[in-house]
């Protein structure tokens, strides 16, 4: 299909509709508001539901309800709103419901600012609500991926009956790039467990309660098996010039775009660097990273936070080679020159 110049945030909405999403519940917040705005235009247009909820808490519980009714459903917000949604995400995970949650991260903590940060890594990737749950987290780094990974998110949510995050930063949400929209893919599986107000579903129950400790433990073990399956089947990443790299730079989202430019320039100067970009933040590409420990002299992890993903990299690397970290916060975005300087400084030291 023809290319369209479009904001990442709007590409999410089109992707969602191409994936057969039927309902959107949200609450405005910069820099994610274009998602709600575009959803308010297009969802009703295709016979879907759009509702601006009373709060993020209301929105996520509406998502829970619609998911329980068997719909493909989504919500979107930015960091402070995601904090509010966490309780609902825990319920959705505990009740094993499929849902897609988009987080266009901004500066924190507290009200922070609306500039891009990646400081929700922990609350998104580690299961920010209560309980032993995990959410798949997809991290796009282009408008194209905002569409593609949103579509994938719906598929994975249904496949695992689990909440899936699409997690990007303010820049990926706000920037415009050409997007080639794929064909609709609305292969929604049967959901015999849903509660639809029909005779066939009147014995169904959506709930996360298990009073008996053994039952709740078994429920949790079952969920852990599901997460293990995700680890085995759903890891996605991009390796850029890694084959002969002596140093690998790891970053996701907007940072990976900057790293890519830095790698190009460093390569032009004869420095053998590569980039590894996790596309799934959970499941994390730990095995892939570990494999490179035989090849590289060190890893650099660059993030727009105080060092959150770097913990996962260090766990993967198991101290076999040094893992250096460089982070920016407050809405400052690491620059190409800054990355080059960091890498070269280390090498000449």
């Amino acid at each position: 299909m023809a290319k369209m110049l479009i904001k990442g945030n709007e590409a999410i909405v089109k992707g969602a509709l191409l994936a057969g999403c039927e309902a959107y519940f949200g609450y405005p917040i910069t820099p994610a508001s274009e998602i709600a705005e575009a959803a308010s235009v297009y969802f009703p247009e295709v016979g879907g539901t759009f509702l601006q909820a009373e709060s993020e808490v209301g929105a996520i519980n509406m998502v829970y309800g619609a998911a329980g009714a068997g719909q493909r459903v989504m919500t979107a917000s930015s960091s402070p709103g995601i904090s509010l949604k966490q309780e609902g995400v825990s319920y959705i995970a505990g009740s094993e419901l499929p849902a897609v949650i988009v987080d266009i991260m901004r500066g924190g903590p507290g009200l922070g600012n609306i500039a891009p940060e990646q400081s929700d890594y922990n609350q998104v990737v580690k299961g920010g609500g209560h309980g032993n749950y995990k959410t798949i987290a997809l991290a796009p780094n282009s408008a194209q991926e905002m569409c593609d990974l949103t579509m994938l998110a719906f598929e994975l949510a249904d496949k695992y009956r689990n909440p899936v995050y699409v997690v990007a930063d303010g820049f990926i949400g706000q920037m415009m790039e050409p997007v080639e929209f794929p064909k609709p893919n609305r292969n929604i599986p049967e959901k015999p467990w849903a509660v639809k107000g029909t005779a066939e579903t009147s014995d169904n129950l959506i709930s996360s309660i298990e009073l008996d400790p053994d039952d709740l433990e078994e429920h949790n073990r079952k969920m852990q098996r599901k997460y293990q399956e995700m680890r085995e089947s759903e890891v996605r990443y991009q390796a850029y010039h890694c084959d002969d790299a002596e140093i690998i730079l790891i970053g996701f989202g907007i940072v990976s775009r900057v790293i890519q430019s830095a790698v190009d320039e460093l390569r032009a100067q004869g420095v053998k660097v590569g980039m590894l970009r996790p596309i799934t933040l959970f499941p994390f590409p730990s095995d892939v990273i570990r494999q490179y420990t035989d090849q590289v002299s060190k890893f650099w992890v660059m993030e727009l936070n105080n060092g959150q993903m770097v913990d996962d990299v260090r766990l993967a690397v198991e101290n076999r080679v040094p893992v250096k970290f460089h982070g920016r916060m407050g809405g400052n975005v690491v620059g190409t020159d800054e990355i080059i300087e960091k890498v070269l400084e280390e090498e000449s030291a």
Binding site: M4, A23, S55, N61, Y64, G88, F171, Q174, S202, D203
Partner: protein
């Protein structure tokens, strides 16, 4: 009452097999508790209206969290306070279903206060049953928003005072201040004297939903002997003698006969799924047939990768000039990216954007060292002049910038953008004048193609021609200038 329910309505399970333990015939409620009575009235009404199979019961967090042990309907258990939000989505997903949202006073009036207020205010077409027992039963008798002044609870050991905890909340009256609800009534349960009235109210509320009238709620004053630390008889009397004095029984809203009902069509929600073709069209995804692409323009080597920073004050069309460049670049086969400054930074009146046009895929969309700078006003020139790469270009709006750039290692082009636009009759076209000027000097884009495709960036039909003229005028102005 005892937990034993004799003649069971069809809308109850005949045996409560979801309930843990050996006793699957009685409820988990305490003797004298009002919940079981209200459950039964609801189940009977669902039976009588023949809607059991369509019904979805939303259990709250509170003593009635286990509503799904009993109701042989679809069941959804909600987070504390959120039943009304969950019910909202359930009903909207399947407008044909009958959604019963059931909440206690802590759940509805405390933690879920905003949710119920907003759901009622939206006129959601579901029915809420609200058990007001003036206490948090489940957690062991703490104060509720409905706890009476002077009432002792485990968190008001000296009795509730209005100075510290405020006054008890009258929900039926509160919701009656809203336009949307069609039916609100407070009843009393637990004493046969009042049961007829309660039964009537329950039926009326559910019927309102079946007829698609909108939001209805029945508030039920109800005993909690355990939480109140009373025996069931004293508790029953306390409801009738004390509680009811603060919470008067009766209808606070009844619009049912005045509202036209909406009953969805036969096939559930009555929505016809769209074909792939229809879907793509409805969500404005361009098709190959409607999109023309142009060959990559032949420009000097240094324009094979351009990093363009455009800056000015709000209203100068800085962001849309950037979008225009990117859009046209895309149609002319470049890799492109556009990144705006956004947020409060724009509120002060300045805006800038980063545009990349490249023969190769684009890494960072941010621009630290522009190859082309386009300052539309003075502050922008001062701010970014030094960042331009050696040998780069500065196209500045000479209508508003009277001191030209000082750099001698870059190509400097004054463009009388604002004045030329004024001459065309609209200051706002200054940005497109600038676009024409940039094209004239760089050859970055094919001008004729830009003019042909102007409708891609100017959505309002009546402004297309103006902007086409602006591009041409900017182009002409710089064509004649050497440099």
């Amino acid at each position: 009452m005892s937990g034993n329910i004799l003649e069971k309505p069809q809308s109850f399970y005949s045996e409560y097999t979801r309930k843990p333990g050996a006793d699957t015939l009685t409820t988990h409620y305490c003797p004298g508790c009002g919940h079981g009575v209200l459950h039964k009235l609801i189940a009977e009404a669902l039976d009588d209206f023949g809607v059991r199979e369509k019904a979805i019961f939303v259990s709250p967090v509170g003593c009635s969290v286990f509503g799904y042990y009993y109701f042989h309907t679809g069941n959804v258990q909600a987070a504390h306070g959120r039943a009304s939000a969950v019910a909202t989505a359930l009903k909207r997903a399947n407008p044909d279903s009958i959604v019963i949202s059931y909440q206690g006073d802590g759940d509805l009036a405390g933690i879920g206060g905003n949710n119920i207020l907003q759901a009622a205010n939206r006129g959601e077409n579901f029915t809420t049953f609200f058990v007001n027992n003036a206490i948090y039963g489940m957690t062991g008798g703490q104060m509720a928003p409905t706890t009476l002044i002077g009432q002792t609870t485990t968190t008001t050991p000296r009795g509730r005072t209005h100075e510290n905890e405020g006054y008890p909340l009258r929900v039926a009256e509160l919701l009656a201040t809203l336009e949307a609800p069609v039916y609100l009534e407070r009843v009393l349960i637990g004493d046969p004297k009042y049961t007829m009235k309660a039964r009537k109210a329950v039926r009326k509320a559910i019927k309102a939903q079946i007829e698609g009238k909108g939001f209805s709620m029945v508030e039920a004053l109800s005993a909690c002997p355990l939480g109140w630390k009373m025996d069931p008889v004293d508790a029953k009397n306390w409801v009738q003698d004390v509680l009811v004095k603060y919470f008067p029984l009766g209808v606070t809203r009844d619009n049912i006969s005045e509202v036209e009902g909406y009953v969805p069509g036969e096939n559930g929600n009555g929505r016809k799924p769209l074909s792939d073709r229809e879907l793509v069209k409805k969500i404005d995804i361009p098709s190959d047939e409607t999109t023309t692409t142009y060959p990559l323009p032949e420009a000097e080597d240094r324009y094979k990768h351009s990093e363009i920073k455009i800056a000015g004050f709000g209203g100068q069309g800085v962001l849309s000039l950037g979008v225009g460049l990117s859009q046209m670049g895309m149609l002319q086969q470049y890799h492109v990216s556009w990144l705006p400054s956004y947020g409060p930074e724009m509120r002060g009146g300045t805006a800038h954007c980063h545009v990349k046009l490249s023969h190769n895929p684009i890494g960072a969309p941010l621009i630290e060292k522009p190859t082309i700078l386009v300052p539309m006003n003075k502050p922008s020139l001062y701010k970014f002049e030094d960042s331009v790469v050696e040998g780069g270009d500065i196209f500045y709006n000479s209508s508003l910038i009277d001191t030209p750039p000082k750099r001698s290692d870059v190509n400097v082009y004054p463009v009388d953008a604002t004045e030329i636009a004024d001459g065309l009759g609209n200051t706002k076209a200054a940005n497109m004048v600038m676009l024409g000027a940039i094209i004239a000097k760089t050859g970055l884009l094919d001008k004729e193609a830009v003019i042909t495709e102007m409708k891609q960036i100017i959505k309002k039909e009546k402004y297309v021609e103006l902007n086409q003229n602006a591009v041409q005028a900017g182009f002409d102005a710089l064509q004649s200038v050497s440099g």
